[in-house]
Structure formats: structure tokens, C-alpha cells
């Protein structure tokens, strides 16, 4: 724990306290609600049961079964710099649904008030209201108010999706993936598994077999999605894994900004979360995907927390397609997550901005892959890792320039900041360049707060705290600036590196 160890000169109190304060997890309460569980464990029967609970057609059941059969043959990867006890995959519930969701509510008005109260308490607007950027409980609605459509996922099921009618008028499909399988099978059949195949990796394959719900987005050609879309994932049930699956398709010339948030109650026993996100981006389309990952991180002794094994990948299929991943990773006991970009179309672009904070006994192994296949493709990676307590924080990334990907560019910057002498910060990049007209640059640094920068600030008359505030604030700025407004506010308070208080 930070409080017990010597705090180095140069790391100011507020930074330490805020990072430490993350241990006092705000969303650790749980909702008392009657649940309907599938029997514990995973088998072909469970896969069939999940499929039938979702009312899926035969082809989907078979798709899941094929994945399950493959998964049984696979072994869990151990190459990440993560240490965790062996996971008993048969000692988990793979499906948990609030009883009140047995008959699908027709609209959000019919949803169990307990569920609605849960989201209200989390600050997630499920009424189609105006959401004022980043300011909770603001009086009145200012002119710059923004609307966000929300798909709320509670354990294994989607509780409801807002603004569906208005989105439908623009031709945008935004619904739960289970609904999409029923209502838009042609789109799901065409794209599901086309970015992350069933056999991709151990966790993605497990997800393919047992995924329960998640979000589906289709933006038609030439359409700019009229509002930001967001999915809020809540794990509530005990001993239950959450396996959501998200599929986003941006057709030619479309644009969408998508936000994802997640929390879970405090429990002493670690819980499994294995999600898959697939994004297909066609010609001239653009997708922004932002995540604030705030799953329960476990307590200060490393007890409990979410084991977060996530496969996220975007495929820029068309020319000039563009994707931007932004993530703020503050939660989870274990994070295993590499949002990736396949830059297939000529002049397509991928960007990855990440802040990963690990405190207490958290372990994060996260990064990205930039696979350059098309000509003139560009990618940019900015990763900021902050480690405190006994935490281990690893950036793992890959940049690959295919022989065909002429005149492409990559720029990677990974910076790590260590607070305390019991934590670790690691960098594991893979760089593969197979043509000479492309340019790849990788830089990484690991340090404590820079003394020269402090000295400079102090020589300009700032006191020590204000100087540190400025320097540390600057450390994360590149990433914070890439976030949409709502998230930037939340992230800033989570990262807590803006230190107005200490200046005053």
C-alpha cells in the first residue's frame, strides 16, 4: 500500500492519494434481484441452452457449438506478464438473467424498477433525456447539451436501448446483439466472426461459444450517426462470467462515436469477463471507440476483482477508413486486452490512445496491434502507464508493415510512470517492417516525475506541488485530449492527475 511506504520526493501527495483513492471503489454495491441462472459450468448443453434462451436460429447455435468444440482443444495463453491462479472454467455461471426479464419488456417503461434504479445509481441515463456533458445533476439544459443513446447490459442480458426510434429514422441500427441475430440475421451472418474468427484465441473462442449479449451497431452508407452511442456493462451476479459480444459496422462514408463503460460489485472471489468487440469499417467510414474500463479491481490486498480478458479488433476494409481506440483502464484485477487495427484499405488510419493505471495488486498487460496491409496507411500509438502499490503494468504491442504496405507510417510512444518502489512497468513491443518506403518510430520511457521539468517549473516561481501537478497532468494529456467530452471528464477524475486543488 502506498500509504505505508515512503513517498518519493517529487511525487506529490494528491497524485498519490487519488491513485490510492481508486481503491475505494465507487461502484462496489450490488443490486438485490432475483436471477435466473443456467447451471454452473460450460458444456455443449450450456451452449445450446444460452442459444435457446436468446431465441436464436439454428445456424447461430451451430456457430457457437463449432466454437465450443474448438475451445475444448485450446490451451489458455500464458505469455502475458500476468500472474493469477488457475481459473476453473467449470466453476462459473455462464448465464444469469434477472427473473423480471423473462418476458422481454416492450419498452423501457416496462423494465423492473430495480434495474432502472441500478443504472440511475450508476449515473447512466436510461430515459431519453438530454445529457449535459460531464456535469451531473446540472440545472436546466445548456445549449451544448449532447444526447447519447445507451444500450444497458446487466449480467447476461440487455435491459434496454434508448433512442431507438430516432436512430432508426437515420437508418442506424442500434440494439442488443441477441435482437440483431433475430431481426437482422443477414448482417450478423455476414460480419460476425469476420474480424475476430471463432478460433482466434482461447478467450475469444470461449466468448464465441457462450456470449450472451452485447451491442450491435450498423451505420448505413453516408450516414453520420446523429448521436453518440454507448453501452454500459454491469456485472451483478456472483460467480458469473460476463461474455459480451459487440459488433459495429460502419458502411461506406459512415461515422459513429461509440462509448463503453463497465462496473461490477465488490466481491471477494474473482470474476471472469471475456468480451469480443468486432468493428468493420468500409470505404471512407470512421469509427471512434472509447472505453472507460472500471471493473472492480479487487481490494488493497489483491482479493477479488474482475479478470478481464478482452479481444477487440477493428478491420479497416475500405480505402481511407479510419478507426480510433481510446481507453482508460483503471479497473480489473487482471487486464489482458489489445485493441487492434487491421489497416487493409489504402490510406486507412488507425489510432490507439491508452491510459492504464494499476494500483495495489492490479496487473495490466495491455496494448495494441497495428497491422499495415494497404498502401499509405498510417497509425499512431500513445500509451501512458501508471503503476503504484504492488501493481504490474505492461505495454505489449505489435506494429507490422507488410511488403505491400508501401509509404506507410507508424509512430509509437509508450511512457510509464512509477509511484513507489514495489511496482513494475514493462514494455514489450514487436516491430516488423518488410518494405523500405515505410517509416516506423518507436519510443518508450520509464521514469518517475522528471526532475528537470520540475526544476524548470519551480524556477518560474511555481511551488513544488503545483509543479508536480503540471508535469503529471502533462503526462496523460495526449490521451485525455483524444477522449470524447463526457469521458474526458470522467477519466480525468479517475486518473486524477489534474490537480487544481493542490495548487490553490
Amino acid at each position: 500500500m502506498i500509504g505505508e511506504q515512503e513517498i518519493r520526493e517529487g511525487v506529490d501527495r494528491e497524485t498519490v492519494e487519488t491513485v490510492q483513492g481508486m481503491g475505494s471503489y465507487k461502484y462496489g454495491w450490488s443490486t438485490e434481484i432475483e436471477m435466473d441462472y443456467a447451471p454452473k459450468g460450460v458444456s455443449e448443453d450450456i451452449v445450446r441452452l444460452i442459444s435457446s434462451k436468446n431465441g436464436e436460429p439454428e445456424w447461430m447455435t451451430e456457430w457457437r457449438l463449432a466454437a465450443y468444440r474448438r475451445w475444448v482443444e485450446m490451451t489458455e495463453p500464458r505469455w502475458a506478464m500476468l500472474r493469477y491462479p488457475v481459473i476453473d472454467y467449470q466453476d462459473q455461471y455462464y448465464y444469469a438473467k434477472p427473473k423480471s426479464m423473462e418476458t422481454k419488456p416492450k419498452s423501457l417503461d416496462d423494465v423492473d424498477p430495480k434495474l432502472l434504479a441500478t443504472y440511475a445509481k450508476l449515473g447512466i441515463p436510461l430515459k431519453e433525456q438530454m445529457l449535459l456533458a460531464g456535469v451531473e445533476g446540472a440545472e436546466g439544459v445548456a445549449a451544448d447539451a449532447r444526447r447519447v443513446a445507451v444500450d444497458a447490459v446487466f449480467d447476461s442480458v440487455s435491459v434496454g436501448t434508448t433512442f431507438k426510434a430516432e436512430l432508426a429514422r437515420a437508418g442506424v441500427i442500434f440494439c442488443s446483439i441477441s435482437e440483431a441475430i433475430r431481426e437482422h440475421p443477414e448482417l450478423v451472418k455476414k460480419y460476425l466472426g469476420s474480424v475476430v474468427p471463432q478460433s482466434d484465441n482461447f478467450f475469444a473462442t470461449l466468448n464465441s461459444a457462450v456470449f450472451s449479449d452485447g451491442s450491435f451497431v450498423y451505420i448505413p452508407p453516408g450516414t453520420r450517426c446523429p448521436m453518440e452511442l454507448s453501452t454500459y456493462f454491469r456485472i451483478n451476479a456472483e460467480n458469473t462470467g460476463q461474455f459480451e459480444r459487440t459488433l459495429i459496422i460502419a458502411d461506406k462514408g459512415a461515422y459513429v462515436s461509440y462509448l463503453e463503460g463497465c462496473t461490477a460489485p465488490k466481491r471477494d472471489i474473482a470474476q471472469l469477463h471475456a468480451a469480443v468487440v468486432e468493428i468493420v469499417i468500409l470505404e471512407d467510414a470512421e469509427v471512434k471507440y472509447s472505453t472507460v474500463q472500471n471493473w472492480y479491481p479487487g481490494d488493497e490486498n489483491g482479493l477479488g476483482g474482475i479478470y478481464n480478458f478482452v479481444t477487440k479488433r477493428a478491420d479497416c476494409r475500405g480505402d481511407r477508413a479510419k478507426v480510433m481506440w481510446t481507453q482508460v483502464e483503471t479497473g480489473s484485477a487482471i487486464t489482458w486486452k489489445y485493441p487492434s487495427c487491421i489497416l487493409r484499405g489504402n490510406e486507412s488510419q488507425g489510432e490507439f490512445y491508452s491510459i492504464a493505471i494499476a494500483n495495489n495488486f492490479q496487473q495490466a498487460d495491455t496494448g495494441t496491434k497495428m497491422i499495415h496491409l494497404g498502401q499509405g496507411t498510417r497509425s499512431r500509438i500513445v500509451s501512458k502507464g501508471i503503476s503504484a502499490g504492488h501493481a504490474q503494468n505492461t505495454y505489449r504491442g505489435q506494429v507490422s508493415m507488410h511488403p505491400r504496405a508501401k509509404n506507410s507510417r507508424n509512430y509509437t510512444q509508450c511512457d510509464s510512470l512509477l509511484i513507489g518502489d514495489k511496482c513494475g512497468a514493462h514494455t514489450v513491443p514487436y516491430i516488423e517492417v518488410k518494405n523500405h518506403s515505410s517509416r516506423v518510430e518507436h519510443e518508450a520511457t520509464t521514469s518517475k516525475v522528471d526532475e528537470d521539468q520540475l526544476f524548470y517549473c519551480r524556477s518560474r516561481g511555481m511551488d513544488a506541488e503545483a509543479a508536480v501537478a503540471l508535469v503529471v497532468n502533462g503526462f496523460c494529456k495526449d490521451v485525455l485530449q483524444a477522449l470524447p467530452m463526457e469521458f474526458a471528464m470522467e477519466a480525468q477524475s479517475l486518473v486524477a492527475i489534474s490537480l487544481e486543488g493542490s495548487v490553490g
Binding site: 508493415m401 513507489g420 518502489d421 514494455t427 516491430i431 523500405h436 520511457t445
Partner: protein, 401 residues
């Protein structure tokens, strides 16, 4: 003692086996040519002007992996005791295979284990004072199917100093291990222009232990060879120590295949130490460059200054550069950074030189030399650096167009 070390290495090898293509540490270099039983043929290269020929040094020659007494100097040098693996003194028996064994964790290096078990010859060099002249291990290849497996051990006692030159092609296929124990306050300089044979294959490994206030510096120049894998495992164990390792590699696939792999692992286990890794590769005509470098800072190794740079200059479109520059840091009061860049010749710089009347070929050669400058700057001795530079210029002159 020596027999025990060899027997234990043989047992370790039997347990770990040789690496295959799926081995993470061999993802970019195929170990098959090193692992296969039969020696792949490589025509011997006739050396007209041996490098460092005019320098005052103590020369010890190995031809096709066998010590060549007739071609070697009398091994008498004040403050330096030189003996052979076959008649190793007690200190060497204690050290032999020990640094190699320590360097097997966390990554296994089976070819070095095999070398410890089976090495046919090698020099045991103990340095007790400042050596007046460099010791020069000169390799020569005469047979196109020769196999050289050599294992040298160097021990620098506290405050001693030695420059070790290691030059030439040891055999059609070579497996070379160098264990270096640098005592407190000692200084060790290692300069290694690898052989000019176009077809040879070499796997080398340096295992170094660097004591308090000691200096370890190693520089390797590679311009030929079908397949080269140079591993270095450096463990800094004493406070205030300095370890630098640098390499310049130039490969032209038009001379035959060129695959060059630098794999470095530096561990900081003490306070206030400095390490630098500087690796530059110039590639053309399908040449492949690989760099796998790691800085590990152990808990408590505060005030560490670790730096690593790996760069490739690709002169045409068929080349590849594959890099994995890693950091693993377990202490907070450290400054560690790494950089890696890959790209073509800077057209603006080229245009500038040409606008000043420098012919294109010459301009490219100049830019290549300036690209390599940081690595060559790691050679402290001006006379040695000048010979390295001359060798580079000669290579560039022979590889124009």
C-alpha cells in the same frame, strides 16, 4: 571441476533440447541451420589485409576451430595469464560454464549450453593488472566444412584492464561463447569485427558479470555472413557499474543471403548503474535484420540509467527489420528509455548533398556512415575506431549501385 561443468551442461541440454521455429526467442531467426547435425558448407574467404594488422597486440590464432600455435605469438604479457581449455587452471574451472548457466534464466539459450558441454577449445585469460597491449583472438577458416565450437573465459581481477580483439571467421559454422567476469573497478573493452566470409554461419554468446564501479564495453561489426546470431547476456551486480554494448551491421543480399540477429539481455541488479545498447543495421537486396533487446531492472536497482536504441536503414524494398525492444522495470527511481526506428535514406538530406555537387553514390555512402556514427562512437580507442571506419568505407565502396 571442468569435467563437472561439462557434464552438468550436457544434462541441462538433454533436459531443454534445441529450440525450434515456434520458440518465442527464435520467432524471427530460424535455428535449424545451427541445430542440424551436418555442417552447412561455406566457402572460405581469402583475407588479403587482416584488420588491426599494424597494431601492437598479442595475437592468438584459431584455424577451423583449432589453436594454431605456429601462427600465434608467445602468450607472455605482463599482468595477463593465458592458458587453454584443455589445461585450464583452477580459477577457470570454477568460472567455466557458470556465467553461461546463470544466463539461462529467464530465457533459455540451448546453443550456449551445448557449447559449454562440447567446446573443442578456448582460451582462459586472467587479468591482474592493466594489460599493456590488446589480446587478439584471430579466427581463420580454411575448410569449407569446418565446425568451430570455442569457449573462452576471461576474468578481470579488481582494477585490471584489458582490450580483447576478436576477428575473423572461425569456421563454416561456428558456435562461440565468451564468459567475462569483470571484477570491481576493472575495465574490459571488446572489439569484434566478424569475419568477411560471405557464407559462414555463426551463433555467438557473451555472458558477462560486471562488478562495482567496473566498465564493460563491447562493439561488434558485421558485414558478411549468411546467418549471424549474436547474443549478449550482461548482469550488472555491483553499484556504479557501466555496461555498453553496440553493434553495426551492413548486409547486402546480393552477396548471398544475409540474416543478422542481435539478441541482448541486460540485467540491472545494483544501484546507480548505467547501460547502453546501440544497434544499427544497414540493409539492402533482401537482407534481414533482427534486434531483440531487453533491459531488466530488478527491485532495488535504483538510480539506474538504461538506454537502448535499435535502428535500421533500408536501402531498398526487399529488406526486413524485425525488432522487439523490451523494458522490464521493478524500481521507481530510474530513467530507462528505448527507441527503435526503421526507414529509408532521408531524401531531403540526399537532395542537400547532391545540390552541393556530391555524386549520388557518395552521398548515400556518407549518409550511411552518419547513420552508423552513434554505434562507432562506442569504440573508445581512436586507432581502433579508425580501422573500423576504414573497413566500413571499403565495404561501402564495394557495394555501390
Amino acid at each position: 571441476m571442468m569435467q563437472a561443468a561439462r557434464a552438468s551442461a550436457a544434462a541441462r541440454l538433454a533436459e531443454m533440447g534445441l529450440p525450434g521455429r515456434r520458440d518465442e526467442y527464435w520467432r524471427w531467426t530460424d535455428p535449424a541451420a545451427f541445430a542440424q547435425q551436418a555442417t552447412p558448407e561455406a566457402a572460405a574467404y581469402r583475407v588479403d589485409k587482416p584488420i588491426f594488422d599494424g597494431m601492437d597486440k598479442l595475437r592468438l590464432v584459431f584455424t577451423d576451430g583449432v589453436f594454431d600455435a605456429a601462427a600465434s605469438d608467445d602468450p607472455a604479457l605482463a599482468g595477463v595469464e593465458i592458458s587453454h581449455l584443455s589445461e585450464a587452471p583452477e580459477w577457470a574451472g570454477v568460472l567455466y560454464g557458470r556465467l553461461e548457466a546463470a544466463g539461462q534464466s529467464p530465457v533459455r539459450r540451448p546453443f550456449a549450453v551445448r557449447n559449454t558441454a562440447e567446446a573443442q577449445a578456448g582460451l582462459m585469460i586472467r587479468v591482474t593488472a592493466r594489460a599493456a597491449r590488446p589480446v587478439h583472438i584471430s579466427y581463420r577458416q580454411s575448410s569449407s566444412t569446418s565446425e568451430a565450437m570455442l569457449h573462452h573465459v576471461v576474468k578481470l581481477e579488481a582494477g585490471a584492464e584489458l582490450t580483447l580483439l576478436e576477428t575473423g571467421t572461425a569456421g563454416a559454422r561456428a558456435n562461440l561463447v565468451l564468459e567475462v567476469d569483470v571484477g570491481a573497478g576493472a575495465r574490459f573493452h571488446h572489439i569484434r569485427p566478424q569475419g568477411r566470409s560471405l557464407e559462414h554461419r555463426v551463433i555467438s554468446a557473451i555472458f558477462a558479470r560486471v562488478g562495482a564501479g567496473a566498465v564493460f564495453k563491447s562493439f561488434t561489426l558485421s558485414m558478411n555472413g549468411r546467418l549471424t546470431r549474436n547474443e549478449a547476456v550482461i548482469e550488472i551486480i555491483g553499484d556504479g557499474a557501466v555496461a555498453h554494448i553496440a553493434g553495426a551491421a551492413l548486409g547486402d543480399g546480393a552477396d548471398g543471403a544475409f540474416h543478422h540477429d542481435d539478441t541482448v539481455f541486460i540485467t540491472h541488479g545494483a544501484v546507480g548503474c548505467e547501460s547502453r545498447q546501440v544497434f544499427k543495421k544497414v540493409l539492402r537486396h533482401g537482407a534481414t535484420g533482427v534486434f531483440q533487446g531487453k533491459i531488466l531492472v530488478r527491485p532495488g536497482a535504483q538510480k539506474t540509467d538504461g538506454y537502448q536504441i535499435s535502428q535500421a536503414l533500408m536501402l531498398d524494398d526487399e529488406c526486413q527489420f524485425l525488432a522487439k525492444p523490451e523494458l522490464e522495470i521493478h524500481a521507481d527511481d530510474v530513467k530507462c528509455s528505448h527507441g527503435s526506428t526503421t526507414g529509408a535514406i532521408d531524401e531531403t538530406a540526399l537532395f542537400y548533398l547532391r545540390s552541393r555537387g556530391v555524386p549520388r553514390e557518395e552521398a548515400v555512402a556518407l549518409l550511411v556512415l552518419s547513420f552508423l556514427a552513434d554505434a562507432i562512437a562506442e569504440v573508445d580507442d581512436a586507432a581502433i575506431a579508425a580501422e573500423i571506419l576504414a573497413r566500413l568505407e571499403e565495404w561501402l565502396a564495394g557495394h555501390r549501385g
